[in-house]
Amino acid sequence: MTFAWQKPGGVFSNGLTMPFSRPVQGVLKDCHFIAALSSYAWMSKLRPNLSGNDGECDLYSFSLFSESRSPAQTVEVSERIWLNNSQYYGARSSDPQEYWPAVYEKAYAAFRSDQITDTPSMKVLDATGNPVMSLVHLTGKTPVFVTNAGLTAEMVFTRIKQKTQGNKTTVPMVAWTYESENAAPAQVIYDNDALVANHSYSILGIFNPPAGGHYVVLRNSFGIGAGEPDEGVAHGEWSHAADSSGSTRLNLDIADGIFALDMNLFHDYFEAFGYVGLH
């Protein structure tokens, strides 16, 4: 298996748009970055900055921030990504006709390694992190995080609800699970791909289905699902305030990695959640 920097096709499939549902994590341990990128795209109509051409490939520039309120650093990279023919290593898009998440991830790798290069070591992203810090890197905004332990499930749900309007989050929001079952105060079992230990998720909003209950709507950076808990997951159509694409409805389908989790399970299985503010 031989990987090299290659251009697999079109960076964008449907105009110069970057929808929240497209970033899918690869084999690197950067779920914190992919979850943050999806949350950022959920809140903002992200547009690429086509900044030039090196004679063979288009160049894109991305603004990234070392910490909140710091000046933006502009990282310019080409559309070449780390591939083995058509096989991806890192991030890819849920739409096989495009690959802009891989270009964004390459820019993030260059940023994290302080390298002004078009060929950064992608292994710099094979490192743990925190999705709120990744949100800071993407937005430069002030981070806030809330730990679930010590709060009731109702209190956690209320804190999330306070940052929603029309069921949809009003700020880019993420969450993360406990490092292991032993680290969780409640008895939990991480035995399906919807609830993975030490993993990062995007929070899209809240769901109060007609049948009752209070749920947190999550997106798994895996971008696909194969299983879910026996209880505590709501399905169906979720109505929400318009997202960055103007859509107001979403089918809660574990097959897309998007699901609504009962607030009690969210409280027990997730260590914390966080967001970046407006300042």
């Binding site: 298996m1 899918v24 994590q25 690869g26 084999v27 690197l28 341990k29 950067d30 779920c31 914190h32 083995n84 058509s86 096989q87 991806y88 290593y89 890819r92 096989p96 292994k123 094979d126 490192a127 743990t128 992190g129 925190n130 999705p131 709120v132 810090m133 981070p143 995080f145 993360w176 490092e179 292991s180 079952e181 032993n182 079992i189 991480y190 035995d191 399906n192 791909d193 609830l195 993975v196 230990a197 030490n198 993993h199 990062s200 950076s221 895996f222 971008g223 696909i224 699902g225 194969a226 299983g227 574990i254 097959a255 260590e271 914390a272 966080g274």
Partner: protein
Amino acid sequence: MDDMRCTIGVRNPFALAELKENRRIEWKELEAGERRERLELDCECSYDKLFSPQSDSPVFGLIPDGAGRWK
């Protein structure tokens, strides 16, 4: 923010399976049960053990440097 844990990170098992097979897998064309079976086969780990670090799961393991070498 000093007490915000920065040790969060797992690998995507679906991406690991594609790396193992060295091709894109059309996951949505498979039933959920078939997806689970494919993950077990490619990741060499029972499905219910894949998502906890208390097992020997490649989701939490070292980076694969080639097809079929997870650890």
